[in-house]
Symmetry: C2
Subunit: 456 residues, 2 copies
C-alpha cells in the first residue's frame, strides 16, 4: 500500500481486537528470576502469594511457559468500551521536524482514567470478582492507577479501597474526586484505619505520606478484611501480560499496511507500558524472526536501568513485599520532590530487567525540562496534551527522528503515548514559569541507597 | 444486519468522513430573522460584520440558501487528527436501565480541548489565516472554547488572544495553563489592555468580571489591532454550520446499520452542539423525508427556550453586539453562581429558536442535581466522565429510556455527549458533599430582565 494511504488514525475493528494476551516470558531463554520470600530467601510459592493476590493472578504471575492467555469475554467487552486505542501516524510531527522518519504512536489516553492502566485494572478486578471477593485494595500516588481501578470496580460492582499518598490527596483533589465519581473509598495515607498507619502517624505526626507507606497500608487492609485482596498497577509479570494488548493492537494495525517499525520506544517507570507495547515485537526478536531496536526511556532523576544495579531488592520502601531481581536504585531511593514527570519507582519489572541485562533492549535517561519542552511541542502539532510520563517517549522519538534527518534515513519509529496530562497542569505551569529544575542524583546518592540492598 | 453485530463503537474511515458542512437554513421554509444593527435597527450588512468577523465567515453567516459548504482540505486534515469521533452504542447503560430502548451517543470529548468546540475553532482560525490575518481574539468563561481556539491557532501558527473572565482565570488555573501550552495569550478580564476594561476597573475596582465584559474587551482588542478579528464559539449560524460535522458523521454511522433514531437529544446553551448534532436529521424532517423527535435540554437555571420570549435581543450583556431574534431571558439575565452545569447563555441560536418556534423541536429543562446524578450513573457504567453540559442530554436520554421500559417500546435514542468533565471536578465535589443547590429563577426574575428587551 502506498505511503499516502495510511490514515492519520487506525482503529482495529472489534473482530480484529486481540482475543488473548501474550506472555513474553514464554519466549525468553533466560527467564526472569523468581520472587523470593523476604524472610526465608526461598522462591515464593503460589499459596503464599494467594494470601495477598487473587488466585488466577498468581497463576499468571508464576507462569513462564504459556505464551497466550485467553482474555475472558467480560474483559473483552469492557475493552470494547474504550479500545481499540488508535494507532496514530504523526504526519504533523513529521512535517514539523522535517524528518524523513515515519513516526507512529499508540495512544492509550482516550479513556477517563487517562492512561493505559485501565488495561490491567479491569483484568485484576475481573479475577477478584470471579473469585467471589467483596473488594480490592491498592495504593496510588498521583492517582492514575487508583482512577483506573475505581472505574473497573464500579463496572463490576466490586468495592474499591484506595490508599492515596496524603500530599497527593490534598494537592490533587481532582484525581480524588474522579475516584469518588466511580464510588471508590479513598483514604489519605498514612491513616488511622490500619495498624501500620497508626504506627507511622505516632512516630511522624506531621508526615504527608509516601508510596511505600501507602502500599503497606493497602496490603494490611487487604489481609485484615474478609474477602479482599491487594492489587498492583505495574512491575508485576501479570501486569505486563495484561498490557500486552497495547502492543498486540499496535502490531495488528501496522501489519495491515505491511509496516515494520525499526525502533520501538516506551517510557519506563515500573515497566507496565513498555512491557505491554514491546511484547509482540520482543517476541519476534526473541524467536529470531525479526529484529527491532527497543528503547526504554527513563527520567534522569530516577534512572534505574541506566544507573541502577541488577540485584534482588524489595519492591517497596516498607521492605515487606517479596524480593524481585531487577535493576534497582535501592528500595530507600526516593526521587527528588522537584521531579514532576512520574516514573518514580526505584526498581523495574523483573522481566524487562532480564531482557535489558541480556542485551535485548536499550535504555536512555532524559531530563525533565527537555521532556516538558518536547511534550509541549508535540501538543501544539499533534493536538494531544501528553502526560509527563509519555513526554519521555516523545522526546526520545523526536531525538531518533532528528537523527534520521541528519542521516537522511527513512526509519519507522513507533512509540507509546501512555496518557494525557489533564491532571499534571501544575507541572506544566511550573515549566511555563521557568520554575522547573532538573534533579539528577549523584553517584553518592545512589551508592547510599544501594548499600542497603538485602543480602540474598 | 442483526442487532448483535452493531459494535460498541463505530468509527467512520477517513474516506467516509464528511467533505462538506450542511447548512440547515437552506431547508427552512421560514428562515431565521436577520441580525439587526443595534443603532439603526436595520439588518446588518456584510460590510458591517466584516469589521469584526472574517470575510468568509460573514458569507457563511448570512447565506440562508446554500445547502452544502465544502470543507477545505486543511480543515479536513486537522479533523483527521481527532475525528471521526466515535458513535457509541450504550450497551452497558441499556443493561443498567433494563430498557428495551436502543441508546446511541456521539462522543465529542476525545480531543484535548475536551469538547465539540474544536470543530468550529479550526474552521474560524483557518479562514482568519486564509484572509492573511495575524491573529484572532475571543472571550472564554470556563475555558472550553478558549482551549479549542488555542489548539487551532497553535496548529496554524496564528496569534490567539483570549480574554478569560477573571474569576475563572483565578479559580480554573488548569484551563488557563492548557491554553498556555498551546501558546495563547490569556488575559484576565476586565484588564488594563482595553479602554472598556479600564473603564470597568475604574468603576468597579474589585470586580471578578463577567462574560459580557470579556466579550466587549475581545471585540475591542480585535478592532483596535491591525490584522485581528473576533471569533465566537456558539450562537452564530456559522458555528452551527461547522458543527454539522457531528450530525453528519453520526448519521453516516447509523446509516451503515440501517438504524434510524426515533429521538435525537442534545444539550443547549447557545446551541452549537445541538444545532450540529441534529442538522442532517432536521434537514430530512424539514424536507418531509423522515420524522424525528428532536429534543433540546436546558438547565432549569437558564431556561431560555422553555421560559424565555421569542424576540429581538442583544447577544451580549454589554449591549454592543447586533440584535438577534431568538428565545431569550433578557440580556441582563445572569444565572445564579450556584449553577455549575454550563449552558449559561441568556439566549439561543436564531436558527434553533426559529425551528422551536415553528414546532420542529421540543425543549425540556432539568435540575442540576439530577444532571450530576445522571452523569455519575453514566460514568460508572459507560466509563466516560461527562461534562456537566453533556449530563443534561444524558439525563433526558435516560428519562426517555425509562419511558420505553414502562411502555415496553424499543425506541432508538441518539444523544450528543459533548465533552468530558476533567475540568469540572470542583462541581462534582460539591455534588458529592451535598453542597449543590438547584437554582430556578422566579417568574419575577425573568420578567425583570425581559422588561429591558430592546424596542425594535
Amino acid at each position: 500500500m502506498s505511503e499516502k494511504n495510511i490514515p492519520y488514525k487506525t482503529y482495529l475493528t472489534e473482530d480484529e481486537m486481540p482475543r488473548a494476551w501474550y506472555n513474553l516470558r514464554a519466549d525468553m531463554k533466560v527467564k526472569p528470576a523468581p520472587l523470593l520470600n523476604p524472610g526465608t530467601g526461598a522462591p515464593m510459592k503460589a499459596a503464599e502469594l494467594e494470601n495477598v493476590f487473587c488466585k488466577e493472578l498468581v497463576r499468571q504471575e508464576l507462569d513462564d511457559e504459556t505464551a497466550y492467555f485467553e482474555i475472558p469475554q467480560e474483559i473483552r467487552d469492557f475493552y470494547k468500551m474504550y479500545r481499540p486505542s488508535p494507532l496514530v501516524r504523526a504526519y504533523c510531527l513529521e512535517e514539523k521536524l522535517k524528518t524523513p522518519a515515519k513516526i507512529y504512536y499508540k495512544f492509550e489516553g482516550s479513556n477517563t482514567s487517562g492512561s493505559h492502566k485501565l488495561n490491567s485494572a479491569i483484568a485484576q478486578a475481573y479475577y477478584a470478582k470471579q473469585q467471589g471477593l467483596a473488594g480490592v485494595t491498592t495504593e496510588t500516588g498521583a492517582g492514575q492507577w487508583g482512577t483506573a481501578l475505581s472505574m473497573a470496580c464500579a463496572y463490576l460492582g466490586l468495592d474499591c479501597r484506595v490508599y492515596m499518598v496524603k500530599c497527593s490527596y490534598e494537592q490533587k483533589p481532582f484525581r480524588r474526586e474522579v475516584m469518588k465519581v466511580y464510588g471508590a473509598n479513598v483514604t489519605p495515607s498514612p491513616s488511622e484505619t490500619t495498624q501500620v498507619g497508626k504506627k507511622i502517624l505516632a512516630e511522624f505526626p506531621g508526615t504527608t505520606g509516601s508510596l511505600g507507606c501507602a502500599i503497606s497500608e493497602a496490603v494490611e487492609a487487604a489481609s485484615s478484611r474478609e474477602g479482599y485482596r491487594y492489587v498492583l498497577g505495574s512491575v508485576l509479570n501479570q501486569v505486563l501480560l495484561h498490557q500486552s494488548v497495547i502492543g498486540l493492537e499496535a502490531k495488528a494495525a501496522l501489519d495491515k499496511y505491511g509496516v515494520k517499525p525499526d525502533i520501538v520506544i516506551g517510557c519506563a517507570g515500573g515497566g507496565s507500558n513498555l512491557g505491554g507495547l514491546i511484547a509482540p515485537f520482543m517476541g519476534e526478536k526473541l524467536r529470531g524472526e525479526a529484529d527491532y531496536r527497543i528503547v526504554a526511556v527513563e527520567p534522569a532523576s530516577c534512572p534505574s536501568l541506566t544507573r541502577g544495579k541488577f540485584a534482588y531488592d524489595f519492591c517497596d520502601t516498607g521492605r515487606v513485599c517479596p524480593l524481585s531481581k531487577m535493576y534497582t536504585l535501592g528500595s530507600s531511593f526516593i526521587p527528588s520532590a522537584d521531579h514532576a514527570g512520574g516514573l518514580r519507582f526505584h526498581g523495574m519489572s523483573a522481566t524487562l530487567s532480564q531482557l535489558y541485562h541480556d542485551g535485548y533492549m536499550e535504555a536512555v535517561s532524559v531530563k525533565q525540562t527537555d521532556v516538558f519542552e518536547a511534550a509541549e511541542e508535540f501538543a501544539r502539532v499533534e493536538g494531544i496534551l501528553p502526560a509527563p510520563e509519555s513526554g519521555h517517549a516523545i522526546l526520545a522519538a523526536m531525538n531518533e527522528a532528528k537523527k534520521c534527518t541528519e542521516a537522511g534515513e527513512e526509519k519507522v519509529i513507533l512509540f507509546g503515548l501512555t496518557g494525557t496530562g489533564y491532571f499534571d497542569l501544575v507541572a506544566y505551569e511550573k515549566f511555563h514559569n521557568g520554575e522547573m529544575v532538573n534533579f539528577v542524583p549523584t553517584d553518592e546518592d545512589i551508592e547510599r541507597s544501594l548499600a542497603q540492598l538485602p543480602r540474598v
